[in-house]
């Protein structure tokens, strides 16, 4: 059995939901989700050869969520998710500066190297980066970085929340990926780009079909669209991609998808 630990913030919710949809196709894989609100996750600390919820706030949050409060170093792989590691800094940068392949306009021109360095430096200020440092102190296991999903574009998303992905979406996406890759390399990790099938026409956005709804627990007036968090379908796509990437890059890990016939045969054998 391959044991994978997913560490992250609220965006892990989509993955947890997605996992319920696809887990049966990965019978040799166990996933432990270790997640809490982004601000709370700062309370994660290294204690010997494990990561523990050091702050009372994180301990309480994990207990409320039914999650473990300790992450040992016995996982075969880690997936770090979101925790401030998002495209916002790249999009903001694209409003004031242009890279080599952008439309020539009044924005300040800079090299792609400079553009990617600015994105990477901003990502180094995130909680995910801080968590990467902690994970690498306890484990050298394969590690994937999954960024916060691009916002899903809908009427409210574009006009109502000040989200305006620039028109240079493709060169911007390439620089964003280059910057994220550079950070991953520093930790002997891999950056998992957002799967193509989840992207909108503007490749710095997520297709509306993957947008979540804020449920009644958070919104007493009833469900409403949430263009920040994604749904179970999105989580399933990302987790599948992540597990297949781990299996492909690390042949010793038995976390590859198995066909329904394989799953049935394995169940019968048990």
């Amino acid at each position: 059995m391959t044991r994978i630990c997913v560490i992250g913030d609220s965006h892990v919710g989509a993955m947890a939901r997605g996992w319920k949809k696809i887990a049966q196709s990965f019978p040799d894989t166990e996933i432990v989700f270790f997640a809490a609100g982004a601000a709370t996750m700062a309370g994660l600390a290294v204690a010997g050869d494990a990561l523990v919820a050091e702050s009372e706030e994180l301990r309480q949050a994990l207990t409320r969520l039914g999650r473990p409060t300790r992450i040992g170093n016995d996982f075969h792989g880690f997936i770090l998710c979101s925790m401030g590691f998002h495209s916002k800094s790249a999009i903001w940068l694209g409003t004031t500066h242009r890279g080599e392949d952008f439309a020539a306009d009044a924005r300040a021109p800079i090299s792609n190297a400079c553009f990617a360095a600015a994105i990477a430096d901003a990502q180094k200020q995130t909680l995910l980066h801080a968590t990467l440092l902690k994970v690498r102190r306890v484990s050298a296991a394969p590690l994937l970085i999954v960024a916060t999903p691009f916002r899903s574009v809908n009427a409210e998303g574009i006009g109502g929340r000040g989200f305006d992905p620039p028109r240079d979406d493709r060169p911007l996406a390439a620089l964003y990926r280059r910057a994220c890759n550079s950070i991953a390399r520093q930790f002997d990790a891999e950056f998992l780009p957002q799967p193509d099938e989840t992207l909108g026409d503007n490749v710095m956005t997520t297709r509306c079909a993957f947008a979540s709804e804020v449920g009644p627990r958070s919104n007493p007036d009833g469900p409403r669209e949430d263009n920040v968090h994604m749904n179970a379908a999105y989580g399933a796509v990302v987790l599948e991609y992540a597990l297949e990437t781990l299996a492909a890059d690390h042949p010793g890990m038995s976390c590859a998808r198995r066909s329904s016939q394989d799953v049935a045969a394995a169940a019968l054998a048990r």
């Binding site: 609220s10 919710g13 601000a39 700062a42 969520l65 800094s89 360095a117 600015a118 200020q125 958070s218």
Partner: protein, 356 residues
Amino acid sequence: MSGRSSPYEGLPASAFWRSGVVGQDPAAIAGLYRKKFEIARTTQVATAGSCFAQHIARNLTARGFCVLDMEPAPPGLSEESAARFGFGLFSARYANIYTARQLRQVVEEARGRFAVAEPIWERDGRYFDAMRPSVEPGGLPTPDLVRDHRDYHLKRVQLLLQKAELFVFTLGLTETWMHTETGTVYPTAPGTIAGRHDPGVYSFKNFTAQDVYDDLRAFFALAREFNPKMRFLLTVSPVPLTATASGEHVLSATVYSKSVLRAVAGQLYHEDPDVDYFPSYEIITGALARGAYFEDNLRSVSADGVAAAMSNFFAEHDPGGTPKAEPAVKPQPRRARKKTKEDIVCEDILLEAFSE
């Protein structure tokens, strides 16, 4: 009848080596620098020059003076990365301007009166702005992009000169490399960062005091076309030459360069009421410092040296003030932040996901 009085009688202590230098605190040398005019916190200050000018800009900013930055670093870029790409060092992204001729050139170019010869240098299939090859250390993929970047830069220099009320320039060198046919000078020797040294195209030039004087006078005139009330503060960089192509010993070449620059700065200070001179060169290199203000390489100015120079400067321009010690590039908000309503909503999302 009194005896013959010496013209030195009655002069202040600062006029005599023994009382003016020996035993003085290098960070507070009495009477060494007396400001010629006020620099208010609202005065819009432009900076340019060689490496040492960066210290002046940084310290002025830290004290809350209004140092212009017409090409600010891209948001997110760390201070270290910003410096690597030529941001946050001077008031525009022109990189080090070592000679008065180079300063004159960039302002003439911004005014549309000068065209750089051989403006684009190549290295390994990448292209560099010959006038500031260090700002994009990896170069750009096409010559057109180099032109595009330079056009933008020159527009920002124009804007800088329109806004600036005080221009601080640190004179660095007299030695340069020149496009022989046209007289264009470059900040680095062709072939050092990019380009190729062709003795048939480029030649070495060591400016005279008259050259430097003419270039600075021309620069003042050009700058005053943008802002007739512009004032100037000159300093001479105490940093010795890394190397000389003059044929002289590098020590002699350094003393020649610095002496020329110091002499011209002094002459302009005495001639023009709107030109001040700040003696950072004397503070760092003078006998009073006993060489202690240089790092082990006897070239880089130590932090103590910079502090001593700036202490003398601010004793006149900001007595009693203290630096705010704010980094040049503000870091992004990070990590441990207060729990917000959004965080509570985020936890609810997880609760729903895990409880399904």
